[in-house]
């Protein structure tokens, strides 16, 4: 048998494939395979076999219909989660960009502030929030709830500001939006820490020469922001929007409902249908938003 020698290019292709092999196997077996199975579950009646496996019987779109039309709470939770995400996203993006710009300037104690802004990621654990929520719920339910009313907590008093805004004649919808955001400021700060870090990294990678040039040409800092900073970080806005949507979706109530349906009611078909519906909705939102943003994005390279 004649031994055929590989060209350098073929060798490169083989080593490249070898490098990605672990990921490729995982993707095909656990990701793609699972995705196909989820779709199959969603389209069938799933019952349990005695061996611990599952038996599926094709049932068409029954599960989807049930989830959307007949299930008691799913469509409400679904719509609420989606609107919540859409409300939060613009604010989180502007907030994190704003904070990143503040953190990027030089001042004393910058290191300390950066540590503080990373803390929400450390606390972002579902476990910690769940435990704390449970603790406060117990208190509000018990007779001891009286106590918490007596002791003023360090919260945000928005009533006064709301009155001022109403007096100014701002539209009710806008006031509601602002009030809702202010009320959830802690959640928003917590949800934007990764985005702040990404924007910070982006800001630091802008060549300083650009700022020098614009200063020499006499640009104001307002112009500098819109002509240099904003275009240079705009590619990262897409990244951040995607991250924000996916992250807030993973923590949303829809996922919780799907999880409960699967593991407390053992209705695999319905749970898969719920997961698929929400995933498709999120994918559509992502595609739409990315298309919109890519129209105004500036790519440096």
């Amino acid at each position: 048998m004649r031994h055929k020698r590989l060209t350098l290019k073929q060798k490169g292709a083989i080593s490249g494939l070898l490098f990605i092999t672990p990921w490729l196997i995982g993707f095909l077996v656990y990701y793609l395979g699972s995705l196909v199975l989820t779709t199959k579950f969603a389209l069938s009646d799933v019952s349990f076999a005695e061996t611990g496996g599952v038996v599926t019987k094709f049932a068409g779109l029954k599960n989807f219909k049930y989830a959307l039309l007949e299930h008691g709470t799913f469509n409400q939770i679904f719509v609420n989660s989606i609107t919540d995400i859409l409300i939060d996203v613009p604010f989180i993006i502007f907030f994190s960009l704003f904070i990143a710009i503040l953190l990027n300037s030089r001042f004393k104690g910058r290191g300390l502030v950066r540590v503080i802004f990373f803390i929400p990621i450390l606390l972002g654990s579902g476990a910690i929030t769940d435990t704390l929520n449970l603790a406060t719920q117990n208190i509000q339910a018990g007779a001891a709830g009286m106590m918490t009313d007596l002791v003023p907590t360090a919260g945000v008093n928005v009533d006064f500001i709301v009155d001022v805004m109403m007096d100014l004649g701002l539209p009710d919808k806008l006031v509601d939006y602002v009030v809702e955001l202010v009320g959830r400021i802690f959640d928003i700060v917590r949800a934007s820490s990764v985005q702040i870090i990404i924007f910070l990294a982006a800001l630091q990678s802008i060549p300083p020469a650009l700022y020098e040039v614009s200063k020499i040409e006499g640009a104001t800092s307002y112009e500098t922001f819109w002509k240099i900073t904003f275009p240079m970080v705009s590619p990262l806005i897409v990244t951040n929007v995607v991250y924000t949507i996916v992250d807030s979706f993973v923590n949303s109530e829809v996922v919780e409902t799907a999880y409960d349906t699967a593991f407390t009611m053992y209705n695999y078909g319905l749970s898969s249908a719920m997961s698929l519906i929400s995933t498709i909705a999120v994918s559509l939102i992502l595609v739409a938003i990315c298309w919109l943003i890519s129209k105004i994005t500036f790519y440096h390279n």
Partner: protein
């Protein structure tokens, strides 16, 4: 008349260029001062929003039961006690749980770095068929929420098998639930917690490194694997560090996989924290929610401290390396 006079004098004053320079200098200074104060106010305010609940929690975790019911006690307890901590630590089985959680997240992070760096390097430096399509698949794994595939994952580890081999030898499928093995298997095959994101970060970073390094290594006779493990991975330190920090923190906080594979709470800090309120209520018969809350706070503080210490140690290098890590591309 008076107004006109004043205006005249003002114009006179302004027409003198020295005066005008002075004014613009002062107004400039005042502006920058105002801006600094404004900045400081915002930063301090938001730092307070972040730190406020934590400070509150720390102080209350030292409260004695009498302090908890005394409305005049604020932040500083009259009779500070550490007994909350000792009980919470006992119920959390603190040192043992921390030890096993530590081993769990460190080994996972190291596997994560190795596998995702390999994939990232493969995508960055080699040409092979369907490369673009495969990389699009990586993006899909970042974007699609994991919960979409949770049921099949659960099923496949409930009845785990490789080509029917396990069933052939033992007679039945292996049940890997209630162990940490499923998470290790998933991470080893690059589908662990946020692996797609790490692959993306590594790929962006390796693309930015000069090709000459590898060419030199190749001419000197280094094999591809040697080049990767001894040269490229060392050069990719910023990315390695970024991925390591994120992987440690997210793995420590992860509840999704832990719940899905029913990993026992003795091996996971977050999970044992979650069962702490119930434990305190039923094992110690502390039914009063306000008192139980003090113990919960102590438990939360105990859970946060290790990961916070870890972050404080690495944070200087982390922030430096972030800029070059490839997040930005």
């Amino acid at each position: 008349m008076k107004i006109q006079n004043a205006r005249l004098r003002w114009n006179e004053f302004m027409s003198d260029s020295v005066n005008r320079n002075k004014i613009s200098k002062y107004s400039h200074k005042a502006k920058s001062w105002l801006l600094t104060i404004f900045k400081m106010l915002i930063l301090i305010g938001i730092s307070f929003i972040i730190l406020g609940p934590i400070i509150n929690m720390i102080s209350e975790s030292f409260f004695s039961p009498a302090d908890a019911y005394n409305p005049s006690v604020f932040l500083f307890p009259y009779e500070p006690t550490v007994s909350n901590y000792s009980l919470a630590a006992a119920r959390l089985n603190y040192w043992k749980t921390l030890g096993s959680t530590g081993i769990y997240i460190v080994t996972l992070s190291i596997i994560q770095i190795l596998i995702t760096a390999m994939a990232g390097y493969g995508f960055a430096r080699f040409d092979f068929p369907f490369k673009k399509l495969l990389f699009a698949c990586v993006i899909i794994t970042i974007v699609l929420p994991t919960h979409t595939i949770m049921l099949p994952l659960y099923q496949s580890f409930r009845n785990f098998d490789v080509f029917g081999l396990i069933k052939l030898f033992t007679g039945e499928h292996a049940n890997l639930l209630q162990t940490t093995t499923p998470v290790y298997i998933l991470t080893m095959f690059g589908t662990g917690l946020r692996s797609g994101l790490y692959i993306y970060i590594f790929r962006q970073f390796f693309r930015g490194l000069p090709k000459e390094i590898e060419e030199a290594a190749f001419i000197d006779g280094a094999s591809t694997w040697y080049t990767f493990s001894r040269i490229m991975l060392v050069n990719a330190m910023p990315s390695v560090l970024t991925v390591f920090v994120f992987s440690m923190v997210w793995q420590y906080n992860d509840m999704f996989y832990v719940r899905l594979f029913s990993i026992p709470s003795s091996q996971n800090m977050s999970l044992s924290l979650q069962s702490l309120p119930a434990n305190v209520q039923f094992l110690d018969q502390i039914r009063d929610p306000i008192i139980a809350q003090i113990y919960t706070y102590a438990g939360v503080i105990l859970t946060i401290v290790p990961i916070l210490l870890f972050y404080l140690i690495v944070q200087r290098y982390f922030m430096e390396s972030l800029e070059r890590s490839g997040i930005v591309g």
